[in-house]
């Protein structure tokens, strides 16, 4: 970290925690790269510390077909080639949304950046970063996602539901990723399979 505050910024805090969300989104879009279409202006950021080695977490994440194990809303991810995957994701109202994501940048063991290709139901781009935590605490994992909430006819109602949903989902998914990596399982309060299937915790 530099020893002075970035002149364009008020402090050193991550842009995802800015009170000025749109300005932050603009700033991040510059660094992240944006989806090929759509006007991605909604920003989500979440960081967790996971007590496992950086290389192990990176490798698990880089095999994108692993992700539905802890991403509750993701129905399936198909691998198209080493850099492209097709995502099918549950959306409010029994719908699904789909897109093809392409890895736009990556560095082994450090970060993966992606963006959706043209024709995405929900244009999005993002970056997952892995850094060593201090004091032997494992790895700091940060997800930053920029997306364009679906608009249009039924627009506002869905948008209202949808706008919050990816933020909630992202933080819960990261918790499940942490649980899976640290404990080997995803915690549930359900008493048996029937209650688990009904989503009763």
């Amino acid at each position: 970290m530099a020893d002075t505050i970035d002149p364009a910024r008020a402090d050193d805090a991550p842009l995802t925690t800015s009170k000025h969300r749109s300005a932050a989104a603009d700033a991040i879009a510059g660094k992240l790269g944006t989806p090929e279409d759509g006007d991605a202006d909604t920003l989500i950021g979440r960081t967790v510390t996971i007590k496992r080695p950086r290389a192990e977490l990176y490798a698990y994440w880089r095999d994108f077909t692993n992700l539905p194990t802890f991403m509750d809303n993701v129905e399936r991810i198909e691998r198209l080639d080493d850099r492209r995957t097709h995502w099918t994701v549950k959306a409010p109202g029994e719908r699904t949304v789909e897109w093809t994501a392409v890895v736009t940048d990556e560095r082994e063991g450090e970060y993966i950046a992606w963006a959706s290709e043209e024709g995405a139901d929900v244009p999005n781009s993002g970056r997952i970063e892995f850094r060593d935590a201090q004091g032997g605490r494992g790895t700091i994992v940060s997800a930053t996602i920029l997306y364009d909430p679906p608009a249009g006819v039924i627009g506002k109602i869905i948008a209202k539901m949808f706008q919050r949903e990816p933020a909630i989902q992202a933080r819960r998914d990261l918790r499940r990723f942490k649980q899976l990596m640290e404990t080997g399982e995803v915690a549930t309060g359900a008493r048996n399979q029937r209650l688990l299937d009904e989503g009763k915790n």
């Binding site: 510390t49 007590k51 605490r137 494992g138 909630i168 819960r172 998914d173 918790r175 499940r176 942490k178 649980q179 640290e182 404990t183 080997g184 399982e185 995803v186 915690a187 549930t188 309060g189 359900a190 008493r191 048996n192 399979q193 029937r194 209650l195 688990l196 009763k200 915790n201």
Partner: protein, 398 residues
């Protein structure tokens, strides 16, 4: 199976429900042989704890026999185990520091949101204690699913009666940690508010840790008698002004360490209690913190306050000025049960600690609603109710 389910304020029933199953590799299924009603279960019974749902199975003090294990459990079928009330993964940073009740992973991801907004962080899961603590079915039942069974339950030797080890699940470690948090030094006078099970175990623990004097405060004569048996001096707050008595009994110094084992449902006709009770019943506040206020005022300058008592929300009129001006230290937290279990099991086996004196009533699980009513209404006579699954319901006069 049969299980004690919560249906609303002062409405608990023994229902027939689906059996538990192994869901995760580290799970085990325990067939309950003994389970107790905890003082903190009365907070649920009285409707003080939010996020309860009708049908939730209660109970977080239990032990029994291992009958099923997941592929990663280290338990063996047939072993007798006592299960800690905290559900902790044993793998995260906090578990690594033995801060088990601060476990990062005990709560299901979706249930962490409430704790995040109330407390800023998720805490460990708890058995049978609302959905903000994970929605886990409790042990006042014939069977229970125990997650992380490779790090939680402690195996007890055959031949030791349940009654001698059951309280390793919660109240004995809680009383012990309360005394440890009071950082007792030789020559100390320790004051203990509340002579329920945790307070009584804190009295015993304080003496074992070298306290010279322990002063126990309650208003139930039988509970004060029990404290006296362990060597405590007593104050009955209905007969005596607690602050004045503590000052006079300590030569005007105040107790070196104060332990609040009363918590959010303090009894007694004190003006702050009555106002807090009105606020609680109108949802303007939840906790009635009379005892912690008094502990802070009475504590000697530079002294230590330990708070094992359960608080859930916000308090009014916390004497922050007295706390700051006198330079007090406050230590608290849900109990790190797994950390204390092995040492306390040894102390029980070596007969340094006896916990069986506490049990005033043993009932069939089928009579659990009677047990709740008795424990709630007759706190003088009813010091601890132990429930036994598999027995016929009996008619008792409550």
């Amino acid at each position: 199976m049969r299980a004690l389910a919560w249906h609303g304020k002062h409405d608990v029933r023994v229902d027939t429900v689906d059996d538990p199953e192994i869901l995760n590799p580290r799970d085990a299924i325990i067939k309950i042989t003994s389970t107790a009603i905890c003082g903190s279960d009365l907070h649920l019974y009285d409707g003080y704890i939010p996020t309860m749902q009708s049908g939730d199975i209660l109970g977080h003090e239990f032990m029994g026999e291992v009958v099923e294990i997941g592929s990663k459990s280290t338990l063996k079928k047939g072993q007798r185990v006592v299960v800690p009330f905290t559900i902790s993964c044993g793998s995260c940073y906090h578990c690594g520091k033995h801060q088990y009740s601060a476990c990062d992973n005990g709560l299901p991801a979706d249930n962490q949101d409430i704790a995040m907004s109330l407390y800023g962080q998720p805490m460990s899961g708890l058995f049978g204690y609302s959905h903000m603590t994970g929605g886990y079915s409790g042990g006042q039942a014939e069977y229970v699913r125990v997650p992380f069974s490779d790090v939680g339950p402690i195996v007890v030797p055959d031949g030791v009666p349940d009654e001698k080890v059951l309280f390793l699940s919660d109240i004995l470690p809680t009383g012990w940690m309360a005394a440890e948090n009071a950082q007792i030094e030789p020559g100390d006078t320790v004051a203990v508010w509340g002579c329920g099970p945790v307070g009584l175990f804190a009295v015993q623990s304080a003496f074992l840790m070298g306290a010279e004097r322990v002063i126990a405060i309650d208003h139930f004569p039988r509970r004060l008698e029990l404290a006296k048996k362990f060597g405590a001096e007593t104050i009955n707050f209905e007969e005596t002004s607690t602050y004045e008595a503590l000052m006079e009994m300590t030569g005007g110094i105040g107790p070196d360490a104060c332990i609040d084992s009363v918590g959010l449902e303090a009894h007694g006709f004190f003006i702050d209690n009555v106002i807090d009770q009105i606020k609680a019943s109108t949802f303007l506040g939840t906790d009635r913190p009379h005892s912690i206020r008094q502990a802070i005022l009475a504590c000697r300058k530079g002294g230590r306050v330990s708070m094992p008592a359960v608080y859930g929300g916000f308090v009014d009129k916390f004497p922050l000025g007295a706390f700051m001006q006198k330079g007090l230290t406050l230590k608290t937290g849900q109990t790190h049960v797994q950390h204390y279990m092995p040492g306390l099991l040894n102390a029980i086996m070596e007969e340094k600690i006896d916990t069986t004196f506490l049990i005033s009533h043993t009932l069939p699980l089928e009579n659990a609603p009677d047990g709740y009513r008795m424990f709630h209404d007759k706190q003088n006579e009813v010091t601890k109710v132990v429930l036994k699954p598999g027995l016929e319901r009996v008619e008792i006069d409550v």
